[in-house]
């Protein structure tokens, strides 16, 4: 327990940082679940694609060391844009290829979930493929390192916890993006379409909502959020890997369920909570138990409050 007290502030800072990445990824699960009632199991791979796009973009700049000033802003902006574009586009393709046919035929959700698992395995393996000696091999199993964009400096400290600029950047960028998304869904015409479909798809169609457009938009937004999360992840950890999305995806899904699936603000709350609890737990029992802690939270949440902290429903609660 003394560890918990000693590491309280640094666990809090780390928890909020990683938690905001979970929250961004959780948005994709929540949006798609709210509209389609489908666990987009391949969403974790959409995030992974975002990290790879970011690593690629950073390498294009050919930085010799951490950037500063205008260059830094430019690189960060391009990285985020590339991550969001790549992830958003792949999410739309994923919907078109793996789910559209099932959706239009009113297939079983079991079928859609299995299709999602298949797409997830496929995408993971695609990013493990490497050319070597003119032949294709599935050998890219190691971490792919990225050049460091941001010189990691200490900004200030709270108690014993040190706030670094990269952690602050991740946190602030994630929060800002979520405010933008929240405004979009709650204030714009397209956002109203999403909420209407989530609430009652048949009535939404009768009221003139173009349901295919709403579904594509949902995947696009969710994918773009995961792409931003991927870019922030790369700036924070300087690396990625083909399987990086798997555990992170389950944690993000847990975050979505914890906050109340289908609820955008719930995703933020859930993500930050998971990040904090996981780091507090790690300070007590050791970092190797992190994943067990998260999954145990998932089971407990589903047992005692299956609708999540803030309650379910994208459309219902705040229509």
């Amino acid at each position: 327990m003394s560890n918990f007290v000693d590491l309280f502030w640094s666990s809090t800072i780390d928890g909020l940082t990683i938690g905001s990445i979970y929250a961004l990824v959780a948005l994709g699960y929540t949006l798609v679940y709210g509209v389609l009632r489908l666990i987009n199991f391949a969403h974790s791979e959409i995030f992974m694609i975002g990290t790879f796009a970011s690593v690629g973009t950073i390498s294009l700049f050919g930085l010799s060391g951490p950037a500063s000033g205008l260059t830094l802003v430019l690189v960060l902006f391009c990285t985020a844009a590339a991550g969001m574009a790549a992830s958003g586009a792949s999410a739309v393709v994923l919907e078109r290829v793996a789910y559209r046919r099932l959706r239009t035929r009113g297939s079983s959700r079991l079928a859609a979930l299995i299709s999602a698992i298949g797409a997830s395995l496929f995408l993971q393996e695609v990013f493990a493929l490497r050319w070597s000696n003119g032949e294709l091999h599935a050998s890219g199993r190691d971490y792919v390192n990225s050049e460091r964009v941001l010189e990691k400096t200490e900004l200030f400290s709270i108690g014993d916890g040190i706030v670094r600029n990269d952690k602050l950047l991740v946190f602030v960028a994630a929060i800002l993006m979520m405010i933008v998304l929240d405004r979009f869904v709650n204030r714009t015409r397209l956002g109203r379409g999403i909420r209407a479909t989530a609430q009652d798809s048949e009535s939404a169609v009768l009221m003139g909502v173009n349901i295919n457009r709403v579904v594509v938009l949902t995947f696009l937004i969710g994918g773009a959020m995961a792409g931003l999360a991927g870019a922030l992840y790369v700036v924070y950890f300087d690396q990625t890997r083909y399987i990086i999305g798997f555990v992170l995806g389950i944690k993000a899904f847990t975050a979505a369920v914890l906050g109340g699936i289908g609820n955008l603000r719930g995703a933020l709350l859930g993500g930050l909570t998971i990040g904090l609890v996981e780091n507090y737990g790690a300070s007590i029992w050791g970092a190797e138990w992190k994943d067990v802690i998260t999954f145990s939270i998932l089971v407990l949440v589903l047992l005692f409050r299956p609708n999540g902290i803030l309650g379910e429903a994208l459309g219902r609660s705040k229509a």
Binding site: G106, I211, V299
Partner: protein
Amino acid sequence: MSTALSKGRLKGAGSGRPRTPVPSFGGLPTPVRWVVYIALVALAAALPSIPGVADIMSPQNDWASVLVFPIGLYILMALGLNVVVGYAGLLDLGYVAFFAIGAYTGAILGSEYGWGFWEALPVGILLSMIAGLLLGTPTLRLRGDYLAIVTLGFGEIIRVTANNTDWLGGPRGVTNVPRPPAIGDLTFGALSTKPYWYLVLGLIVLVIIIGKRLERSRVGRAWAAIREDEDAAELMGVPTLKFKLASFAIGAGIAGAGGAVYASRTTAILPDNFPFVLSALILAAVVLGGSGNIAGVILGAFLVAWLPERFREFQEFRQLFFGAALVLIMLFRPQGLLPNARRKAELQEGSGGMGTLGAEVGAAATQTVEVDKK
């Protein structure tokens, strides 16, 4: 012109032909069917001994040992998962956890406490079933897709726990697991793998008999009712939680048996032997073959296990192919290669699991009424 005509005529002939009853296997007299069953089992038992088969089926590796793992054990696990996914319509993504529990029970009891294989096997089955009940009691009340994620989490918990617990050998796992004692002339050994095949085959036959009997019993009908419409089943007086738990426990026990055999076959196990991908592959086997149909599930598991062994040059792309295959099967043949007629109908109308997707527009949208389970 003439081609169009002939096309039309053919079509008309096809649809107008009086339906002659297709000679089905189930329609044969019982003794004939039993003879066929026994012949099939005898053929399966002889598989490693027939000369020539090994060269075709497995030119690179010892055929008998490939038959035991992966083929035999995949079939066993797929039959077990079929009880959960195929019969009760519950999606379990952490099935490998029960395989791991069986394997670790057999391994620890054997290497630490000196138990023999035959004493450890029932304990492994029992512990797996208990784990199934412990996981199922709280989680089987959940919606189907939540269940999938919770079971996935459970699979990871088991693996990470095995990895972090010194008592279970940590990342180095458990070694020196005893092999089963010799039965007559049949000695179980690293190179003498045929007895393992007989053992696995025996378990498979046992599981098939249990599965068939269950499917045609009150339990099987209850499972079908739950699969098709859980709320309706509950209203009709089916104690759904009890039957879902039963399917979970039975599936878990079968995986546990497979795990115990696996541990004694390899004599050393690691946490990394039980990754999520194994759960996904077994699920792929069930779905690919045709969930709910025993012959289909066996075929699916055989293909999933055998293809990468046979075509080793493609083995590193195995997951790539399986991922793509899962998507394509769900899109174009969700009922699997050898479908169960009832499951096929269910999957087409959107029941048979967890209800339909939201945001669907079309015929299905007017048929289904979402019951809000709050």
